[in-house]
Amino acid sequence: MRTDVQRLLPRSVQAVVIAVLLVFVLTPVLYMLFASVNDDLAVARGAFWPKSLHLDNYSKIWSTVDLGAGLGNSVVVAGSVAVVSALVAVATAYVLVRFQFLGRGLILRGLLALQSIPGTLMLLPVFVLFANLSAVLGVQVIGTRWALFVTYLTFALPFSTWVMVTYLRGLPAELDEAARLDGASSWRILRSIIIPLSWPGLVVASIFAFLLGWNDVLFASVMTNPDSRTVAVALQVFGATQEGGAIPVYGQLMASALICALPVVVLYLVFQRFLVGGLTAGGVK
């Protein structure tokens, strides 16, 4: 049976691993769920089980901040970053893996080194860059979704590219060599062979890029205006306290956090079946 051949862990080990991990992962999530329907003062005092049900938190979050618009902006920005960065990454990785040229090693090492740059160092210089760009181009750059898109795309590229580089290295070169013998151009090879075969890598690269845009607060908080505000920034408001008096609205914070995690989890639920196993033997022919 095919499935037995592919089995990596015996059933008992598999079950234990999954059970332990689910408990580890879901206990705090359960806490969040309970806290989202609990009284804020009770949560502040460290309660776990809700004493009273405050289901209205789920409806309040939409009016306390403009969560709907925030979600819309985030979906647009993060979604486009995910798609574009995955495509750019696979194209760049293809060139880096299949072709030999001067400086290739340098570029590869450089991309990895770029991952070590902290965001806090870049915030003000990037802002100044965009502000000057505004002055040069004569259009408003800061506060638009484009500025965010470009920033997140660039920050996501190094890692996405590396994921694809690592993945593509595992693909046998014979596949595209055969296609090239048939006279196919690089673009054609990329489109018809490489991309379909590298779905698992593309999924990881896109998730990473999507989350970068979805969860970033630092850049979004200064580069958006109320119209282009992303959900990550809107969420901050729930955690705020008024000095000396109002406590954070824990219930709404937890509720909105769960709601905001939902799109990504659902997207993954849909796309995880593309993490298909193995290359078919027939592909090489």
């Binding site: 595992g170 979805w214 990504v264 995880q272 196993g277 193995g278």
Partner: protein, 277 residues
């Protein structure tokens, strides 16, 4: 094909990086911010101050230590999860998606949730029947490790899972024909195949943990307790709360250089940038 990505990277990362480097050589603070190009040039003074007069050395020590710990600890967990969900079973899609949740939640939410769970009068202590201090003092270091672990292990799981997908069927069949047991198969067939992906995963995870700012910031607040004085929080406070931009830039550059050295050693050792056959 390299041009669009290349242009973006140069424009949005390298140019601002150059600006940041320049700032580290200037005396840029709240008094000189407005006309930043005219801020006094003080060459390496910021660097000297960063090393001698700030908690930078201790912060680097704390950061590198806990990042390495977390990275090494997430490896077996992520790997185990990937191996366990490779097989189709009922509800696998849900389990896989559930595994992703800690990574998907924004860092500030994770910090707030764990902060309330771990406060002295919180649910964790009620369960343990104790009054332990998790958010300050010596235990705070382990708190940081565990919470960072909780939120970052799914990345390793994702990478490992994607790596497992590229094992060709013939390889599985060959191993079955050889009559290999599951552990032997893992050791001799699966793990070697995953080497490339895992090597990448480890270095990426390490760098992410090193630069993770929001989690320690929300979990422990500012000023940070001595045991969890991590680098990103330090540079953030210097820059955004104390307005000492020059000093903060120097700190960040110093830490970048310090990380670059072992990074290149690692790359060389793992031969990540060479074409594997």
């Amino acid at each position: 094909m390299l041009t669009p990505g290349g242009v973006l990277l140069v424009l949005v990362i390298l140019v601002p990086l150059g600006v940041a480097l320049t700032v580290s050589l200037l005396d840029l603070d709240q008094y000189t911010l407005r006309e930043w190009t005219g801020a006094p040039f003080i060459a390496l003074d910021n660097y000297v101050e960063a090393v001698t007069d700030t908690p930078l050395p201790h912060a680097i020590w704390v950061s590198v230590g806990y990042s390495a710990l977390v990275t090494v600890a997430t490896l077996p967990i992520g790997l185990a999860a990937a191996l366990a969900t490779q097989q189709r079973f009922k509800g696998r899609a849900l389990v896989r998606s559930a595994f992703l949740i800690p990574y998907v939640l924004p860092a500030f939410v994770v910090g707030t949730v764990w902060r309330t769970i771990l406060m002295p009068s919180g649910p964790a202590n009620s369960l343990l029947g104790d009054g332990r201090l998790w958010l300050n003092g010596p235990d705070s270091y382990w708190t940081l490790v565990v919470v960072q672990l909780w939120t970052s292990w799914p990345l390793l799981y994702l990478l490992a899972a994607s790596g497992l997908q590229s094992i060709a069927e013939e390889v599985h069949e060959a191993a079955a024909l050889d009559g290999a047991g599951w552990w032997a198969k893992l050791r001799h067939v699966v793990f070697p195949h995953l080497r490339g992906v895992l090597a990448l995963a480890l270095i990426i995870a390490f760098l992410h943990n090193l630069n993770s700012f929001t989690l320690p910031y929300v979990l422990f607040g500012v000023p940070a307790p001595h045991d969890v004085e991590v680098l990103p929080v330090l540079t953030y406070v210097e820059s955004f709360q104390n307005f000492r931009f020059g000093l903060s830039a120097a700190m960040a550059v110093l830490s970048l250089v310090l990380v670059a050295i072992p990074l290149s050693v690692y790359l060389r050792a793992v031969r990540l940038n060479q074409h594997e056959d």
